[in-house]
């Protein structure tokens, strides 16, 4: 299994990846929209 160091490595890779932030931002917007229309 991955060690703490390698885990930190791939977490950094995810959080510095624009491909992650696009869906994350869309999810946040979707939750806000749901709150607004409910």
């Amino acid at each position: 299994m991955p060690t703490d160091q390698t885990s930190r490595g791939w977490l950094v890779s995810i959080f510095t990846d624009i491909h992650f932030w696009v869906p994350a931002a869309v999810l946040l917007a979707g939750l806000l929209l749901l709150r607004f229309i409910h």
């Binding site: 791939w10 869906p23 917007a29 749901l34 229309i37 409910h38």
Partner: protein
């Protein structure tokens, strides 16, 4: 013939075979996703749509763990996670996106009716084409004919879907039409964006069967959170106990839906999201077939309605044909490979593994997955839960035509068999 030209021919043959497989998976996905609507049509009780959605997601959860265990075994899932642990985060994110989008569609249907809502959220295929092009090098160097085939095909399918939705939907309006429009558009954006994690996972070599097992935690977690926050714990429990007689039908719908979704995942893997999403969007056509032929939904409607159904279906078929005939060329696939290499370098996944999975084969030295007692236990638990709810299920009084139901079931099973067999023989479910 030299060895080099023989290898080139072999590679080209493999590429074409995988493209054909992806198209077949997309088409089969549409049939099974559409069939999933059939059990839910048996449920006509006054229960909150969020509760119905939650119960279906529980059925989905059971299927997403038991089917992969049955097909390849959980050892394959463990091996995939060991190689690319970062993909768990992507799968959870995709599951959360799905749950929020699904809930938004419930509000959209309530506020503006299916006929307006469906075309709005069906725009997800156009967004999928955009993300595929922007992030994953899809349709690069594809030439104007393939662009026209994919984009034109997706647009023709949207028009066909709109006509089908108008023909099949009973208008409903709750006086919140702007909210409904936003909800439908939001669902389209969420679903279209959900394919970014899908493509990300498959370019990095993850098996679709592994991806869905983690996807479902995001799906169930988010759906439960939404149900608790919008309904409250005590009313939710009250509604769940009230629905125990129909839980089986809803869970069965979820189970069938997962079979379709698995094929959709393989389509996204082998033909990319720009082609895979529109192909699996044919589910609306299949859902309508079940509705008209089995449940007699258009009985007594005007000739104009039937003409709309025929016209809409023909347009959908035309769109499917255009996309199916626009498979990726060798040049375009070279760009896909570059995107895969970029992912492999970023996340430290072995290049040989990514390349092997890209071609739908096992990497050298990879252990052949085997089923263990744990897998059979998972299958037994899922089967017992379904069987338990089946025992207390009430068969509703419903206008049901057995002949067409049998014919559609046979067609769906035939597609499952043909596509499943081709998947097994070509990729070993990788």
């Amino acid at each position: 013939m030299t060895d080099q030209s023989a290898t080139v021919l072999q590679e080209r043959g493999r590429r074409q075979s995988l493209q054909l497989l992806g198209v077949l998976c997309g088409f089969t996905a549409g049939a099974w996703l559409g069939a999933a609507e059939a059990p839910t049509k048996l449920v006509s009780i006054g229960v909150s749509p969020i509760v119905i959605s939650l119960i279906m997601v529980v059925g989905v959860f059971l299927a997403r763990w038991s089917l992969p265990a049955l097909v390849l075994g959980t050892s394959s899932v463990r091996a995939d996670v060991h190689r690319a642990p970062h993909l768990i985060i992507w799968a959870l994110l995709a599951g959360c996106l799905w749950a929020v989008a699904n809930t938004l569609t419930i509000f959209a249907i309530r506020d503006i009716g299916l006929s307006i809502a469906f075309p709005l959220w069906n725009s997800n295929s156009l967004l999928g084409i955009f993300w595929g092009f922007l992030f994953f090098n899809e349709l690069r160097q594809a030439g104007w004919r393939r662009w026209a085939g994919v984009l034109g095909g997706a647009m023709v399918m949207c028009v066909g879907a709109t006509i089908l939705a108008i023909a099949s939907a009973g208008q409903s309006s709750s006086g919140h039409s702007m909210n409904g429009m936003w909800a439908a558009l939001g669902a389209g954006v969420l679903w279209g964006t959900m394919y970014i994690p899908y493509r990300k996972a498959y370019l990095t070599g993850m098996n679709p069967l592994s991806f869905v097992t983690f996807f479902t935690f995001g799906e169930l977690g988010m759906m439960s959170a939404l149900a608790f926050s919008y309904i409250g714990a005590a009313p939710l429990w009250h509604e769940l106990t009230q629905t125990r007689n129909v839980v089986f039908w809803l869970m069965l719908g979820g189970f069938i839906w997962v079979i379709g979704d698995l094929f959709q995942q393989y389509a996204a893997k082998y033909v990319g999201i720009s082609r895979g999403i529109p192909l699996s969007n044919t589910n609306q056509f299949w859902g309508l077939l079940w509705g008209i032929l089995v449940f007699g939904e258009l009985h007594g409607k005007t000739q104009a309605t039937y003409l709309q159904v025929i016209g809409g279906s023909l347009l959908m078929m035309l769109g499917v044909a255009a996309i199916s005939l626009s498979s990726a060329t060798g040049e375009e696939q070279q760009y896909w490979k570059e995107a895969a290499q970029r992912e492999s370098a970023r996340y430290g996944v072995a290049e040989e593994f990514v390349a092997a999975r890209f071609e739908g084969r096992q990497a050298a030295g990879e252990i052949v997955p085997r089923r263990t007692a744990v897998d059979w236990l998972l299958v037994a638990i899922a089967t017992s839960i379904l069987a338990g709810f089946a025992l207390i299920a009430r068969v509703p009084q419903f206008s049901f035509r057995w002949g067409p139901a049998l014919a559609l079931t046979i067609v769906s099973l035939l597609l499952l068999f043909v596509c499943g067999r081709k998947l097994w023989r070509t990729t070993g479910f990788h």
